[in-house]
Symmetry: C2
Subunit: 313 residues, 2 copies
């Protein structure tokens, strides 16, 4: 297997793009060179000619946007965001888009983001009451974070500069991310994929690769899904999201089909770009944080001796 190299040039904005000779255009959109069906190493692109030096935020090749899961008030929320922010603080050219599941941004999350040192945008999008998970509902009954991820997609399409060669990744509060994962996803041209550890009841799920292309999926759960991938297992190029303005997460998607509802509007499975040594390296783990038991807290609070509520946890 010849590994796919990181792109050695910057995609110009569509106004200035001149397709190199023999370039294949599978998608009817102005960003087609991003989605060449040929492995990148087989068609070397000449360095583009810029009328002006490219804006600095396009170099290194991709900014990474990470809208994490929404942030309902849970006891571990701050701890999880602190830990995630420490990971993200190592990643160059990353912009963190945090969308809270709240009627307004909260001071806890805003203060944490401001103190984190990570460039960020703080948005909010409350989940409509009719699809909000109720106490006692099993966690799989309603997909979480749909409204918030779609808000992030809207923000990206509405506010980012048109030519920006960024990559969008949907992070989660308590997953574990290797720093190498972010370098792998930087070269995403359309939709890139890789294994995810400790997910779906397996040691890992992963796309199966032959000849540099995705030919199937190792998964035990609903393998008939068009894209049997976890949210942590793919990234999308921002130009592709712009070229497919209707693509979004479907709040009515059946369980397990949320990822497919977005990806089906973007690519076919054969167009997925394998990363992480042809999907043989686990660089992200679907870790879950235990819900802490606060029984003693409730007892003390009934006696008026609870932990000082002015101290933030």
């Amino acid at each position: 297997m010849i590994p796919i190299p990181l792109p050695h040039y910057i995609f110009p904005s569509p106004r200035h793009f001149i397709p190199p000779p023999g370039h294949f255009t599978p998608f009817p959109c102005s960003f087609s060179p991003l989605f060449s069906p040929h492995p990148p190493h087989s068609s070397p692109h000449p360095p583009p000619i810029y009328p002006l030096p490219p804006p600095l935020h396009l170099y290194p090749p991709a900014n990474i946007f990470m809208p994490p899961l929404p942030a309902p008030p849970r006891p571990v929320q701050k701890a999880e965001l602190v830990r995630l922010s420490q990971t993200l603080l190592h990643v160059r050219a990353l912009h963190w888009v945090v969308v809270e599941d709240a009627p307004a941004p909260t001071a806890l999350v805003g203060g944490l983001l401001a103190a984190s040192g990570v460039p960020f945008t703080h948005l909010h999008a409350p989940t409509p009451p009719e699809i909000r998970r109720r106490p006692g509902d099993p966690p799989w009954l309603r997909p979480r974070g749909v409204e918030q991820r779609n808000r992030a997609l809207q923000w990206l399409r509405d506010t980012r500069p048109p030519g920006e060669a960024a990559v969008v990744y949907f992070a989660d509060d308590d997953n574990t991310y290797s720093l190498r994962l972010f370098e792998e996803m930087r070269s995403t041209r359309g939709v890139s994929v890789w294994p995810v550890g400790l997910v779906g009841g397996l040691r890992f799920e992963r796309p199966l690769v032959a000849g540099g292309r995705v030919v199937g999926f190792h998964t035990a759960w609903k393998p008939e899904r068009p894209f049997p991938l976890d949210m942590a297992g793919f990234a999308v190029a921002l130009p592709l999201l712009r070229a497919r303005p209707a693509a979004r997460f479907d709040p009515a998607a059946e369980r397990g089909y949320l990822e497919s509802s977005l990806l089906g509007g973007l690519v076919t499975p054969a167009q997925l770009e394998p990363k992480a040594d042809n999907c043989t390296q686990v660089l992200v783990w679907h870790t879950r944080t235990e819900k802490p038991k606060l029984r003693q807290e409730e007892q003390l609070q009934r006696q008026g001796r609870g932990s000082d509520p002015r101290i933030e946890v």
Copy 2:
């Protein structure tokens, strides 16, 4: 409250130490200036005179040693260590001592440490079979990590340079650490303490402080313990550990008394040094990672279709 300042000088090695006038020596040891019962701000120390420039690893003021919990082979082990290493990679002058609960160091942990970028020492100390937790034992039956933490103490006392003004902190694989915590603990002269979030059934446990001193503890569980503190809630100056060579964790300690078994050999509760704004800031959280369910993996393995065992998770 007057905050305790970071020490602005480096403790000389005992050979060269000249006590400043009026210095109080409560402990019969050569490092007594570290354990002044006066709050540090009340007795300004003059900068010491060095016969030679101090070795670089003594400046910034304290190296921090962190022996985390032992590392029995669990599915989330690598993910937890990757995440912890990303936190530690932000901390200056830190040396990570990892003690595996294994008859020999494993390649998984060794490779991860080597790739982490964090200065480290990789040790091992198997838990004796007679005190090893058996499958089905409740998690609280036997204290975990005793043998490994004592191995780290031995390594520190045996191999570090005698005059080293380092601080020792016992980290855990899945706790969450604010980066500010490490700066707080750097000024530890004897044993420093601070709140721990989401522990003991409470939003937080914390030492109660009046007049710059610890006067009690907010805890709901066994408050009669001499030091009702979680392992994540204190750090110890290495010179104090050297001055008290018998102090160690007691493998036979009753449940909840493991921390007290070490600390009781080092200080009295009144000598604890409060950090984190007089113990009013939660800078560490006792987060726990859920044990992943691998039922589908077991099913597939019975069919000979398990996840590729050559891929490390």
